[in-house]
Amino acid sequence: MAELPRTAVAIAAAVRSGEVSAAEVLEAHLAEVDRREDEVHAFNLVTADAARAAAAAVDRRVAAGEDPGPLAGVPLALKDNLCTRGVPTSCSSRILETWCPPYDATVVERVAAAGAVPLGKTNLDEFAMGSSTENSAFGPTRNPRDTGRVPGGSSGGSAAAVAAGFAPVSLGSDTGGSIRQPAALCGVVGAKPTYGLVSRYGLVAFASSLDQIGPFAATVADAALLLEVIAGHDPMDSTSIDVPPPALGAGLDGGVAGLRVGLVSELTGEGIAPDVAARVRQAADALAAAGAEVGEVSVPATAHGLSAYYLIAPAEASSNLARYDGVRYGLRVDGATTAEMNTATRTAGFGAEVKRRIMLGTYALSAGYYDAYYGKALKVRTLVVRDFEAAYERFDLLLAPTSPTTAFRFGDKTDDPLAMYLNDVCTIPSNLAGHPAVSVPFGAGADGLPVGVQLLAPALGEATMFRAAAALEAAAPPLEEAYA
């Protein structure tokens, strides 16, 4: 693929100008898929035929003198919890294994309208519940950097697809870190937007007040471009903010001079692997060297964020997943009565982690326990919001690790759910507050595996956040450079 452009920005420009055809760009990527997909298993389904038709359509439009859009000819992978009309959307669950939605998610419509070429549905932890993609009912995805290691989760497939070069960009979803954490573990860029900036219509719900769709890319510029395309008000989503899509690409190289960046003190010490912590400090230094004012800030509520999240998210999930009852679509395991059929279907169709979270959530909402668990968690959420507000009075952005460790081995944390949940400690607070955050690759850890560094911003602070992310990207040590 030496001569062909590799980034989404470059591909779109080349295809729009006629310099390169969408078809040849697609074939090059499909060839990569052929080469390594068996090993990586990023996809639940590769939709090569549909992709070829889409690429051909883009090329026809260019030939007719039309502009196919800002993502013209860009191959793109979609997390398999995004509804694609007529194409199976399984959420990596047996219960939806063969379900074909009769409609497209809003983001799917928007990327298609922008000229993108979707080439497949990527693997995830079942119903987006997990941090390693080991909870997929269809087998895990492997980290392209080291196939003995997890890619992270829940959007492991989308992260791996970009890391393996199957597509320059992909879409994932982030509820407690499910874009940022796999981005960090796979060494790519992953961003979660402000809650409400991107429509959730067509995203199979996990935890409604936390879920957001966001981009994966190999570069900050590509991630910004994709976010621009999918963001902006959607009348089909009541929680969608009434703003037009933000302009992010233009200001990317504005630099960070004068920007106040606070390193989150609670996420620098205990609980964070030393090599990760070191890379974060190095990132802080890099920003300072580029003109930012870097300091430290305490965000105490981050300590309680994990507990609150693991009550709020399962509670909402327990309700969101009730609809999988074997009546209208998906798996049905018969029973003598409807109730028996419901139970048999759900018992057979859901994996252990999903069951665990459904029960945790059901319990947290139960009569008698609501105030102690769910009710209290909502109050902790207020504390997190308040602590962020206080922090953003002194700083424009916050800096933290994305994941406490680099990619772990398969099976390392599957016996201990709590240990698995701890992977999300750096990412969860942003979801609770509804704030944007981005993970940027910043060198390798002690084991040579990618480390991601996280920038956090206040609500609708994407422009500043991406600008700083670009600066970090420019200063980042290459992955190949050994950790010292």
């Binding site: 009769p102 067509g202 089909m236 309700s319 009852d325 059901t362």
Partner: protein, 496 residues
């Protein structure tokens, strides 16, 4: 078991035990669900229409497909507020909540409703009999789909399998929760009637029980007369008509009294009205009470209608039945609880009556006609001025009550002037001197009977009065007013 109906301060209906003579009072709280008359469903743009092919008015949202999201219909808020304000509720900022339970007619296996912050609170409804029934709340919620049961008797028990249609899923409802202020099966029916009139007047719903756009559940309990505490209540469902409502409350009251009188307790439960058997039956017993795990709906944002919107709703409210009764009663100089007033408003004839009164007609007479002689199609189109003239003729004695009724019927049927119709029928007024003349002639023609009449005892006099009135009526070919004739005879008898 005897039922006594003893009006005590409003109406009190008591059930008296034959065995102990203990009097029991019935306490009823009604929950009414109304389908709102919007073009589309609560959270999606599917048509809100009755009676189509199954599963054609559906979309990802009302089917609850994975990834779908609700968006609130503005007209639902408008109608809910109209209804709330018509019931004197306070409109509050509100949120939506999920009520979680599994049932096949529920596409999401949770219902979006309002729980601890409903849109309308603390209102009331004034009944024609003067009772004020408190309205605890009137909140917005979505309707479920419809199950039909196949195999067996077509009812749920004994069915082999069921079929589900989601056309109705997501239709907007307002649930009106009345406080337990109803004391009487008839009163319960009146409450529903009054509510229906309000729903129609505000345009909020077409409120048809037979089509399911108005559904009534009754919470019934009993207590000894004089007790303040409420007894254990049972919720009665499957009431498909007003008649069922009344019958079910009566049955349930007796059932509970029987239980309590025999030393048993009433178990709090849901019961179903069996129309053909004329009794309530317990629902299937559940091992545990349902735990609905209510929590705020995260896919919707809070609702806080601004003061301008509420003011606009208030300004646009039509005159409601209670106000119409008050208005008519005031104009006619009678009580608002008078049957004629109630009937006039029910039949939408109050505007007519008011106009007639305004044109100078005697209020009570107008009301009498409305109550007894205007229960016909097109009565509202009667010209109020003509009506007023007719009533004037009657009050002046030119027409008897019977004649007036006939003239009225004719005027209604064919239009036309009451004077002309009266003349055509020969109902011309007999003036008093003419009548006196006829009375003298009849007296002169029957001297011995007249002596008897003057001197006889009450009984004899009564009989002879009838004799003389009859003679005068015959002589005037029925045109004399019986009362006038009687008065003349009496005056003649006493005055000489």
């Amino acid at each position: 078991m005897t039922l006594t109906n003893e009006p005590v301060e409003g109406e009190v209906y008591t059930v008296t035990s034959d065995a102990t003579g203990q009097e029991w009072e019935i306490v009823v709280g009604l929950e009414v669900h109304c389908e709102l008359a919007t073009a589309t469903k609560l959270f999606c743009g599917c048509p809100n229409q009755f009676g189509h092919e199954p599963n054609v008015n559906v979309c990802p949202v009302c089917l609850g497909l994975p990834g779908s999201l609700p968006v609130l219909n503005e007209q639902v808020v408008e109608l809910a507020m109209r209804l709330g304000r018509a019931l004197h509720c306070t409109v509050e900022p509100s949120v939506f909540a999920r009520k979680n339970y599994f049932y096949p007619d529920m596409p999401k296996d949770y219902q979006v409703s309002q729980y601890d912050q409903p849109i309308n609170v603390d209102g009331w409804l004034d009944l024609p009999d003067g009772t004020r029934v408190g309205i605890e709340r009137a909140h917005i919620e979505e309707d479920t789909g419809k199950n039909t049961h196949a195999g067996g008797s077509g009812r749920i028990h004994g069915a082999d399998y069921s079929l589900v249609d989601y056309n109705r899923a997501g239709v907007p409802l307002v649930e009106i929760v009345g406080r337990p202020h109803v004391r009487h099966p008839e009163q319960a029916k009146t409450y529903v009637d009054e509510l229906r009139a309000i729903l129609l007047a505000t345009g909020a719903s077409d409120a048809k029980m037979e089509e399911g756009s108005l559904r009534v559940d009754a919470n019934v309990s009993v207590r000894r007369v004089g007790d303040d505490a409420l007894g254990t209540r049972c919720e009665i469902k499957n009431l498909n008509s007003l008649r069922s409502l009344g019958r079910a409350i009566e049955y349930e009251a007796r059932r509970q009294v029987d239980l309590l009188e025999s030393g048993d307790r009433v178990h709090q439960e849901t019961r179903h009205w069996d129309e053909s058997a004329g009794r309530t039956r317990p629902g299937r017993s559940k091992e545990e009470a349902d735990d609905y795990r209510y929590f705020q709906e995260p896919d919707l944002v809070p609702l806080a209608p601004g003061d301008d919107w509420i003011a606009a709703v208030d300004a646009a409210l039509p005159v409601l039945p209670a106000a119409r009764r008050d208005r008519l009663a005031g104009a006619a100089g009678v009580e608002a609880t008078a049957t004629a007033v109630v009937v006039a408003v029910q039949r939408d004839l109050d505007e007519l009556a008011l106009a007639a009164i305004e044109a100078g007609a005697d209020g009570p007479r107008v009301l009498t006609h409305v109550e007894h002689n205007l229960a016909v199609e097109g009565a509202a189109d009667l010209d109020p001025v003509a009506f007023a003239r007719l009533v004037r003729m009657e009050v002046d004695g030119q027409l008897t009550a019977t004649q007036a009724k006939t003239v009225l019927g004719e005027v209604l049927a064919t239009g036309g002037d009451p004077e002309a119709v009266a003349a055509e029928k020969g109902f011309e007024a007999m003036d008093t001197s003419e009548l006196e003349g006829v009375v003298e002639e009849v007296i002169a023609a029957n001297p011995s009977e007249w002596d008897d009449f003057r001197q006889g005892d009450d009984k004899r006099r009564g009989k002879l009065q009838g004799f003389f009135v009859g003679k005068v009526m015959k002589a005037t070919r029925g045109q004399a007013d019986g009362k006038a004739v009687t008065a003349l005879l009496e005056a003649r008898r006493t005055g000489g």
